[in-house]
């Protein structure tokens, strides 16, 4: 989603240099919070520390501590953010220590979202200028302080590897030794950033700073928090959303060795124990009756039917040019289709969990969150405390994918902890995690296009129905029936498309909560758009790459990635019977990406994705290894959804429960993934979600190439691909 469309220019937000650099005093008062550090614990800051802004602190001990405004959940932000700062601060990456940012919307708001959150693949887009400026202004202050001490002109000094150097006299001084004096220097009003040709770090495959602790088990995720005296709880929530606890028989559970307490809530029960083994055993021994409430009969088919009805319209016009209806009526060929995408769970490898200690007048929380200020605000409400009385310790995240943008798990843990004397870690079982998620929405699209005699599109009309996650999560960004996420990938297409009309019908399905899911709006829209463009190529009897290329005369960056992927994938070269290649192209999250998927479909209809080739133009590359890793990651995540992903409701209950019924792509099914990066001097685009949205139509298009069967509903239905015996 491009929330920057809805908000101000990224260079002119409340995180602009003036805004956050002026807050030096707030951040300089000492170690912000006792955070779990990924790479060791820094000493508490003293009065001689240099803390020119919310991101950098240099103590007289010489330690350079960087506070991370975004949280690390695998995407590499704890390496690329330090790269941006270190580039201008002139320190080596191995000289820095990292801290998780505490909740503070003022200091750490995401420039493109306006709230403190990690998501939308926008860390590099939002941080590109302000984080380099933070490093540059700190460096200028350090250099100025050293020059004053030496009584030389600051312009005769330079900075390198954490030192100020005066070449003329051969003097040099470590940052820590001049930190106290630098703290007295005013923050510069303006800084000049390096020219790209002078970058030392940006553009290099710098090693991940979080990797060593992740290969020896020493890093701590939220689920690893162990405050003194912590008890472990697990829970059962009403199997139907909106249901309530009717009755509970807990005598057998209480008799389980290690079980300490049973907590009853309106719509959930928790078993508190010495360890998770006892808590789970206790939970299994409970006899629970639920009042299923108003959604007791709800099914996925009902929701799909409701959405289908909504696509008869009208909706809110998201984009219009020309007269699509008129052009459609006069078209030589008319192509119409309906597409559907299922509910999906996030299934983060680290199951939902949150540790809470509720005291009389305060509350302390240990969690891995993509939105730590949201956790603080919602937990405070649940605890009946002012937000400043809620201390939140953020952690590394064992998979976010949007699930940890939500604070429901923290609220639930506070509700339980209010009944418990001392800290309690609430750990959801995998079954609970999958059955009480907040799901990627179900979407239904009705789409039509008209072609002229040459097969060129002359009209495009798309009306789709589904919920607006933004309307709940960030209400100010939902305006006049539209939000920038729900439509990204459905409008502003890369292709020339005269007489273009897109409508969004907002429908909030009952009885199932929805949320952001990796690649958000584009996870829906790119599948529909790129599948349908493929259908148009087929209707025009043209090659899928050549057809797209014909529509890209005014979009050289899109055309370049398409050409590159065609070349690298061997597009057009023969494949064995039952195999096929599918192409897809997108411009979302500020990056251009083209993919070719190669699939093999067995006579039983089983689909194997053999190889995926990616051609990426994400502007300036901060870390090429991260770009490659994120594309590999995004492809696997999206391929998992395409091949297996589906959450269904029956009698109001989620039917899937663990990795046997909600399957993941595994090593033996993983495709070879080739990544090719286009060199570019444009500002950085987003990375972490791009591979996910695009691989789904690339696979569907490849299946069409292999079988002539067009799959308009995900996930892949192998039965429909079975060849008659």
């Amino acid at each position: 989603m491009n929330l920057d469309r809805a908000h101000a220019d990224p260079d002119d937000t409340n995180l602009s240099r003036r805004g956050f650099l002026a807050s030096a005093a707030m951040a300089g008062g000492g170690l912000l919070l006792s955070l779990a550090l990924p790479f060791g614990r820094s000493e508490a800051a003293g009065s001689t520390d240099f803390a020119p802004n919310a991101f950098i602190r240099i103590g007289s001990d010489g330690q350079v501590v960087l506070t991370m405004p975004y949280v690390e959940m695998g995407q590499g932000t704890y390496t690329s953010v330090p790269m941006l700062i270190a580039e201008e601060l002139e320190v080596k990456l191995r000289q820095v220590r990292l801290e998780h940012a505490p909740p503070n919307e003022k200091l750490y708001a995401n420039p493109l979202l306006g709230v403190q959150a990690t998501g939308n693949s926008n860390a590099m887009r939002g941080g590109w200028k302000p984080l380099r400026e933070a490093g540059a202004s700190a460096r200028i202050m350090l250099v100025t302080a050293a020059a004053r001490r030496w009584r030389v002109d600051p312009t005769s000094c330079r900075a390198q590897d954490g030192e100020v150097i005066h070449d003329a006299t051969g003097r040099h001084i470590k940052y820590g030794d001049v930190a106290a004096e630098a703290a007295q220097i005013p923050v510069p009003e303006r800084v000049t950033l390096k020219r790209p040709e002078d970058f030392k770090l940006i553009g290099t495959p710098a090693k991940r700073l979080d990797a060593p602790g992740k290969v020896n088990g020493t890093v701590t995720y939220g689920i690893d928090a162990r405050p003194a005296g912590v008890k472990i709880a697990t829970l059962a929530q009403s199997p139907v959303f909106g249901g309530r606890l009717k009755s509970l028989e807990d005598s057998e559970a209480k008799a389980v060795k290690g079980v300490r307490q049973i907590v009853r809530l309106d719509d959930a029960v928790a078993v508190v124990a010495d360890h998770m083994g006892a808590a789970k055993k206790g939970l299994a021994a409970l006899k629970i009756e639920w009042d299923d409430g108003p959604h007791a009969a709800l099914s996925t088919a009902q929701i799909a039917g409701q959405l289908e009805q909504a696509t008869f319209g009208p909706g809110t016009v998201a984009q219009n040019s020309g007269d699509a209806d008129k052009a459609l009526a006069g078209a030589v060929t008319k192509v119409e289709a309906m597409y559907q995408l299922p509910f999906l769970a996030h299934a983060t490898m680290e199951p939902m969990n949150c540790t809470v200690h509720v005291r009389k007048d305060a509350c302390e929380i240990w969690i891995g969150s993509q939105a730590v200020a949201r956790v603080q605000a919602m937990a405070a409400k649940a605890a009946g405390l002012p937000p400043e009385k809620v201390i939140v310790h953020n952690h590394l995240i064992g998979g976010g994918f949007g699930r940890r943008l939500e604070a429901d798990g923290a609220v639930r843990a506070v509700e339980i902890a209010k009944h418990v004397d001392g800290p309690v870690k609430v750990v959801w079982t995998r079954e609970e995690d999958i059955q009480h998620g907040m799901y990627r929405p179900y979407w239904f699209d009705r789409i039509a296009a008209g072609l002229d005699a040459q097969g060129r599109p002359v009209a495009w009309k798309n009306r789709f129905a589904g919920p607006s996650v933004i309307a709940r999560w960030l209400p100010p960004a939902f305006k006049d029936g539209l939000d920038p996420d729900s439509t990204e990938g459905a409008i502003d297409l890369v292709y020339e498309m005269p007489n273009f009309h897109v409508e969004f019908v907002r429908v909030e399905p009952p009885g199932i909560p929805t949320a952001f899911w990796r690649s958000v709006g584009p996870s829906h829209n790119v599948f529909v758009t790129e599948s349908f463009v493929d259908e148009l190529a087929s209707a025009a009897r043209q090659d899928a790459v050549a057809y797209r290329r014909m529509l890209l005369d005014r979009n050289p960056r899109a055309r370049a990635v398409l050409d590159l992927v065609a070349e690298k994938s061997g597009w057009g070269q023969p494949l064995p019977k039952g195999s096929g290649r599918g192409v897809a192209l997108q411009y979302v999250f500020g990056s251009y990406l083209a993919q070719v998927a190669e699939v093999e479909v067995s006579s039983e209809g089983n689909v194997r994705v053999r190889r995926v080739v990616c051609a990426m133009d994400c502007g300036t590359v901060v870390n090429p290894d991260t770009v490659q890793a994120q594309l590999q990651s995004g492809v696997i995540f999206g391929a998992t959804a395409a091949l297996y992903g589906e959450i269904t409701l029956k009698n109001g209950r989620v039917e899937q429960s663990n990795f046997d019924t909600y399957q993941m792509l595994r090593m033996d099914q993983a495709p070879v993934i080739d990544v090719h990066i286009v060199k570019s001097a444009e500002p950085p685009g987003g990375m972490g979600e791009t591979g996910t949205s695009l691989i789904v139509p690339a696979i569907a298009n490849a299946i069409f190439a292999a079988t002539s069967k067009r799959l308009r509903k995900m996930p892949v239905d192998s039965n429909s691909l079975k060849q008659p015996a």
């Binding site: 690390e72 695998g74 995407q75 590499g76 090693k207 991940r208 979080d210 990797a211 992740k214 290969v215 020896n216 088990g217 020493t218 890093v219 995720y221 689920i223 690893d224 162990r226 472990i232 389980v256 060795k257 290690g258 010495d274 360890h275 998770m276 083994g277 006892a278 789970k280 055993k281 299934a347 983060t348 490898m349 680290e350 199951p351 995240i397 064992g398 998979g399 750990v427 079982t429 995998r430 290894d625 890793a629 590999q632 990651s633 995004g634 492809v635 696997i636 995540f637 998992t640 663990n658 990795f659 046997d660 993941m664 792509l665 595994r666 090593m667 033996d668 993983a670 070879v672 993934i673």
Partner: protein, 156 residues
Amino acid sequence: MAFTININGSGHSVDVDGDTPLLWVLRDVLGMTGTKFGCGAALCGACTVHIDGVATRSCITPIDSIEKAAVTTIEAIGATASGAGIQKAWLDHEVVQCGYCQSGQIMSASALLASNPHPTDADIDDAMSGNICRCGTYVRIREAIKLAAQSTTNGG
């Protein structure tokens, strides 16, 4: 009931029900949090440890089944030749992303290399397909295992 188990070369006494899975003894009773909870049903491999050198899902391994067997966890796998080789290859190949599944991946991979120093792609599929990685690091895991196998061959 009290059990004494041998973990990473040291004896540990714990007083829990005999059907308590080893995973929770490690994480919650002994505070060894490197071993991860993923599914509780031996479907994802996040909780993999070695029991007498064999990759084992600790989430379904009752504590009363272990007796005198030697349990090795991620915290100590670097002390074995295959474990150290795998950890190095993981760093050289920059495998990790969120990292949550990687303890289990490394335990499965190091057990594979210890018993089969020159695994084929099919061997890797067999040994590693029980370990889910939601970040999709499979491509690099495969490369890293091959790198570690090669380093071992070269005497590294």
